[in-house]
Amino acid sequence: MSEKAKSIASKKDFNQDERLKKVSNLKILLNRPELGAVGGAILVFIFFGIVAGDTGMFSAYGALNFLDVSANLGIIAIAAAMLMIGGEFDLSIGSMIGFAGICIAIPAIYWGWPLWISIIFAFAMAVLVGYFNGILVVKTGLPSFIVTLAMLFILRGATLAITRLITGRTQVPGLRVLIENDPIAWMFATDTFKWLFTWLGSMNLIALRTDGTPLATGIPPSVIWFIAITLFATWILMKTRYGNWIFASGGDKTGATNVGVPVGRVKISLFIGTAMAATLFATIQVLDAGSADTMRGNLKELEAIAAAVVGGCLLTGGYGSAIGAAFGALIFGTVSMGIFYTDVDTDWFKVFLGAMMLIAVVFNNYIRKKVTENK
């Protein structure tokens, strides 16, 4: 053994290397993929705080509103981010949302199925669609962009055709009454922490209705699911072997296969993930609106991908973060609702979304270069 190797191997504890302390905490922070999204979110809040601070945007009722939008987007953004880290795209998420909504509504209203069975049916269909997407991509080696673009059309068309065939129209209403005694539906449709808001209302800290009850009744179910999914996704990516496989599959597909990572299985499971996230989104929405509509979810996959990119995910795969995507969704949700509190024309929101994506990609590219050229 060389002299140098001997001296290093004899160091008792590698953590006591004095050079480690010189890498400042700030530098570690700058290397994290979430940085851009967190920074962006803070900026957005400061912006709207100054511009629209007293309009009611940050009242309890107003805040829950944009948090609800952010949370719903966040659910699909996190799934899209994990898939992107794994090296693939899913453009069929939006169509899956519409399809899942119909899978819940038609059996429940037209075939007389109990609501909870319809919901399970929708999730089962999601597994099938996700598996189909994944198998196609893995077996044919075609870019997932193309495969899922085809599914985007197939699913949306099927949704429209099947709905019109069975119902003669493009909407299926009447679901609200079914929620009440259903064993599962409450999980997707109930506000939580109601006691907190009642208490805040009694202390006159938040706005009240004419009958004395608080205007904001509770935390919407989307927010709870969103937080749970963010934590779960982060745990998977950072702490599990499967998470390492996701990074590896996206970072170097052939290399990963060569060292024994089951890249095919990983990718298929990620596609199932995006389809199920779309179904969760659809379930929450359908139960909230009390109806399903064939056009729901249109173009949502683009927003999900934008949020993931803003959150630090590289389009080429192998790098990114679920928390980043969560903050990306928060940014878009806040801005999309916040614009309505100002006198800015709402068409500018699309300009904002595109510009944010560009800025995020430039920023992420810069960060990535810094991360890989420290030496």
Binding site: V51, G56, R169, L215, G290, S291, M337, D343, V344, V362
Partner: protein
């Protein structure tokens, strides 16, 4: 890299300085986008109303026909605590929760354009618009007065409750025999479907949409040389049909006068804010009839965005 950061910050600062947000008296949440030719007329009504009443208003709409987003916008509006909210009500089931929350928060709501059946059950104070059945009745009576005995009602979206009602009302007002022709919403298909019926002994044709069905039916009549033999009337307006009316080729256009649908709710709220007055029930803005007599003037106002 530094210059990019600096320019971004400068841009953000500029945006912050130029964007403003004030408390608004009346917020309008509509399902019709402001850049749509039909809805821009309604928005002009809103703007004129606000100026006339001396109050501040805001017109908002979701980017696409999305009831979920529209419900969010109503919630948005409620959080801004305006003096009144004006909405369209194309889907009472989806929007009901948000509307009820607005009313529970003590904000009065007026509906316009759609929802004449459901507004009362949600606690909405009044509805401003044209009820489909009654408009159909008006059209039917006019065609009857012109001497019609056998009519064809062209429905390009069977199952759309509003459209179905138009034909039903027309049948009641017309008195004679009325057949319903269901088509797709493809103009070529509508034209051929109508053309196929032209030898069926009809003397009257009513279409339920001007730009789509009306113009297609007119084309069918023209190529068969039956303009004038068969009387054509339509719901709603389009530049092509307006021109045809001015040329005497169309009996009438049923104008729901969406300018009033935008103006009147604002006027109502303006007076409500002063003296607490509120009409009860439905305030009908239509059917207004555009005939060869007044078509020229309507064309002028349509170009200005008021009809």
């Amino acid at each position: 890299m530094k210059t990019i950061y600096k320019s971004i910050l400068a841009f953000v600062a500029w945006v912050m300085l130029s964007v403003s947000a004030f408390a608004v008296d009346v917020i309008v949440v509509s399902h019709g986008q402001a850049n749509d030719p039909f809805w821009s007329v309604a928005k002009n009504g809103v703007d004129t109303g606000c100026k006339d009443m001396g109050i501040s208003c805001k017109y908002t709409a979701p980017a696409t026909f999305d009831m979920v987003e529209m419900a969010k916008l109503i919630d948005n509006a409620v959080s801004q605590k305006p003096k009144g909210i004006v909405i369209t009500l194309p889907d009472a089931a989806a929007l009901g929760k948000s509307v009820k929350a607005a009313i529970a928060a003590g904000i009065p709501v007026i509906s316009m354009n759609s929802g004449s059946d459901d507004f009362a059950s949600l606690g909405i104070s009044a509805h401003v618009g044209q009820t489909e059945f009654e408009a159909g009745v008006g059209g039917g009576e006019k065609m009857k007065a012109a001497g019609g005995k056998k009519a064809l009602c062209v429905n390009h979206e069977v199952g759309n409750v509003a459209l179905d009602r138009r034909c039903a009302g027309f049948k009641k007002g017309f008195g004679g025999s009325v057949d319903i022709l269901g088509t797709s919403n493809d103009p070529t298909e509508i034209q051929s479907a109508v053309a196929a019926k032209l030898n069926g002994g009809y003397d009257t044709i009513l279409t339920l949409g001007a730009g789509l069905a009306g113009e297609a039916a007119l084309k069918a009549l023209k190529s068969a040389g039956k303009v004038g033999d068969i009387r054509l009337g339509t719901f709603d307006m389009s530049p092509g049909m307006l021109k045809a009316a001015a040329a005497g080729e169309v009996e009438f256009l049923i104008d729901q006068q969406q300018y009033l649908q935008g103006y009147l709710p604002i006027a109502i709220f303006g007076q409500y804010m002063r003296y607490g007055t509120m009409p009860a029930g439905v305030v009908m803005t239509g059917p207004g009839f555009v005939t060869p007599d007044n078509a020229a003037k309507v064309i002028k106002w349509a170009a200005q965005g008021y009809r």
